[in-house]
């Protein structure tokens, strides 16, 4: 009787029921959102990379952040093991364009360079190690170089950084001179732990930062805001790169090695003349589509600014137009990665440059 007289809106049980229902709905909605994003990302990966995963399988490394699970990419055409001690050692660091996982290991830039430098008539053999790691830019390479120098009993005679593309890509994504692959993924959990009481629930935080929902958000908001040449972050980026390469040069020298930065070629950054038939064929590449105009424009601003900032450094080698003499397409659909013919051309140009520098 009493219950019937009490207004329903004030019943604690009723309010609790409503709260529980909405909580259930919220959790269900979040779960559905996450499942939707999971499907979206997985299908997109399948279409773009032919695999349900993006990137390589990596393991955590306290110095380099992460390294490919499969280890170092092998290099063909190196001298036999018993002669390696007498050989000159070259370490090549870079991203996926150096690692060249998409081609057989005998057709990487490193393998073609070894072929060039170990050919008949060469005074001394060269042993090349391909330390290319997918998605690495100069930030991660300088950290990796420190680890390699620390842990390797045989120091190199020459260290080569093959850079450009990933430095531009991750700067555009994060607008930060120290940006690298997965920057936000690491930043989130590191900073959130002590930021609030929620940070204390670290398994939940880790799940949140690893969620497909956040990944979808990152991918959608990536590098679409236009970048100005006067952007202060871009000025900082140039200085940061100069200082980073200065340290790489000092570090290499501390172990008795020389240092070289190769500024890699990219299809839409070329300024030299390319055979018109080849050029026409390349217009069909996905990256040349107008949908990527904004991406390419931002990329160009960073690439050109960095080239200007770095071009007077003695260790800087500009390869922007090194592939313009091609007689067949050498770029993959993204206009960054090279096919076998492209890798061979880069290796030949690099070998010429090393001979010219009396290396």
């Amino acid at each position: 009787m009493h219950r019937e007289n009490q207004p329903r809106g004030f019943s604690a049980r009723y309010l609790g029921g409503i709260l529980l229902t909405w909580l259930k709905r919220l959790i269900l909605a979040l779960l559905l959102l996450e499942i939707g994003c999971f499907i979206l990302i997985t299908v997109t990966n399948l279409i773009l990379f032919g695999s349900i995963w993006k990137g390589s399988q990596v393991r955590y490394d306290p110095y380099a952040q992460f390294l490919n699970f499969k280890g170092v990419m092998p290099t063909a055409n190196n001298p036999p093991a018993q002669e390696e001690k007498k050989a000159k050692h070259i370490w090549m660091l870079g991203g996926s364009t150096t690692r060249c996982e998409k081609v057989p290991y005998q057709q990487t830039i490193a393998s073609f360079l070894a072929q060039q430098l170990n050919g008949p008539g060469e005074r001394r053999s060269a042993a090349i190690t391909n330390y290319g790691e997918n998605t690495f830019n100069s930030v991660l390479e300088i950290k990796y170089l420190q680890k390699l120098l620390m842990e390797n009993p045989q120091p190199p005679d020459l260290v080569i950084f093959y850079d450009g593309a990933n430095d531009c890509i991750y700067f555009n994504e994060y607008r930060n001179p120290h940006a690298h692959y997965g920057y936000r993924r690491l930043q989130g959990p590191v900073e959130s732990y002590r930021h609030s009481a929620f940070g204390l629930l670290k398994p939940l935080v880790a799940a949140l930062y690893a969620s497909f929902t956040l990944e979808t958000y990152d991918r959608l908001s990536q590098a679409v805001a236009p970048l100005s040449r006067d952007d202060p972050a871009l000025g900082e980026m140039g200085q940061a790169m100069q200082r980073r390469y200065d340290q790489a040069q000092r570090l290499a020298a501390a172990y008795g090695a020389r240092f070289l930065v190769v500024w890699q070629p990219l299809i839409w950054m070329e300024t030299g003349q390319v055979d018109s038939v080849v050029s026409k064929q390349e217009q069909q590449l996905a990256i040349m589509n107008s949908r990527f105009l904004k991406f390419k424009k931002n990329f160009t601003v960073v690439y050109q600014t960095l080239t200007t900032d770095l071009k007077d450094e003695p260790h800087f080698l500009e390869f922007q137009n090194i592939l313009c003499s091609r007689t067949e397409p050498v770029y993959e659909t993204d206009g960054i990665h090279l096919n076998v013919a492209g890798n061979r051309m880069v290796a030949e140009a690099l070998a010429r440059e090393l001979r010219k520098r009396d290396w």
């Binding site: 996450e34 999971f38 997985t42 349900i52 995963w53 990137g55 390589s56 399988q57 990596v58 393991r59 955590y60 306290p62 110095y63 952040q65 992460f66 699970f69 930030v139 300088i142 950290k143 420190q146 120098l149 620390m150 842990e151 120290h178 940006a179 690298h180 997965g182 920057y183 993924r185 690491l186 930043q187 959990p189 590191v190 900073e191 732990y193 002590r194 930021h195 940070g199 204390l200 629930l201 670290k202 398994p203 939940l204 935080v205 880790a206 799940a207 949140l208 930062y209 690893a210 969620s211 497909f212 940061a240 200082r243 980073r244 200065d246 340290q247 000092r250 570090l251 020298a253 501390a254």
Partner: protein
Amino acid sequence: MKKFFRLLWMGLKWLILTLIGVEIFCFLLITVTNLMIFGIPWDGSQVAYDAYALFLHVEGVKPTRHNPPESNSLASEKSPRRIWLLGGSTMRGGWVKDGETIPSYLAEILNRPGSPEKVVLNNYGENSFNSLMETKYLQKLLIETGKPPDLIIFYDGANDCSYFNQYRTPQAHYGQRRLRAMIENYRGSIFGLLKPLKAAVYSSFSKEAFDKFRQIKVPVNPENPAPRELAAATEKRYEHVRRLAGAYGADFLLVWQPFLWVETAEVDPLVRAKEKDLSIMGSNFFEVRRNFMVTYNLLADRLKDKPYFVDLRNALTSRTAPVYEADGVHLRAPGNRMVARRLAQLLKERGWLNKGEGP
């Protein structure tokens, strides 16, 4: 069949409930332990992500008193010499006043009136840093500085032992498991596709409780491969730091820090009696102390012949009052002053203090 599935569902439900129960228990255990030890529910400081060093204190570098004013230094004919001090919380001295840290006391001694040259000291101590993190931080500092130091001091020992004892890997550092979770959650297996779940499992309090249990209860055997690998890796790291410092024209000094239960020299019996009451000297912590001692001695033994190594384990044994905090590792202001005096004496003995003056 129906009964079988009902039993299976019941079993699964109980398993999930048990796992959640274990996780909640571990969460409470760790949070309460943090509250008891550090007075806050978190372990460590509030930090910001750093691409080179992984994380740095949000409040920035701890100020050092008694440095010569920069404006005067610039005006003077001879620029001051610079010392960078790196280490963990014992170097940072977060719980004492700015003027009571080891660098401040050292600056006071080195810059006292009548000193032939002025010295600027920077306290780059970061809570929970060990030699691995310091090496990464040093790389960043050297990349970014416009004024490289003349001397780099690493003040190590406690955190190198602590994190090795927790993780039993030579590359251990604070928060290693959480960072691994963010890096390795994705491509390990099909289960990796559910990366939020995997990240949560890796970052769970149950795993943290396991690590802490290992530190407290599982003895370190110096004959096992992991401690031997730790010694080799640590030696390589310091050798690299020496070269890295040299690349910028700096000397390197490694100070092996004192803590209460590794001292081997006589201490005033009255002081000793008082120190017996410190919580770390209780029988509950017997295995912690033993593990620390094994790792500490193993590393000290490996490094003792290095020209840059200085063992300060007995630097505080002449004390006339307790100088250690309750954990037997962190020092009170008088302890910091004693360490600074010993360091100043050391710099004098090694001829570093008047090195800049010429013959």
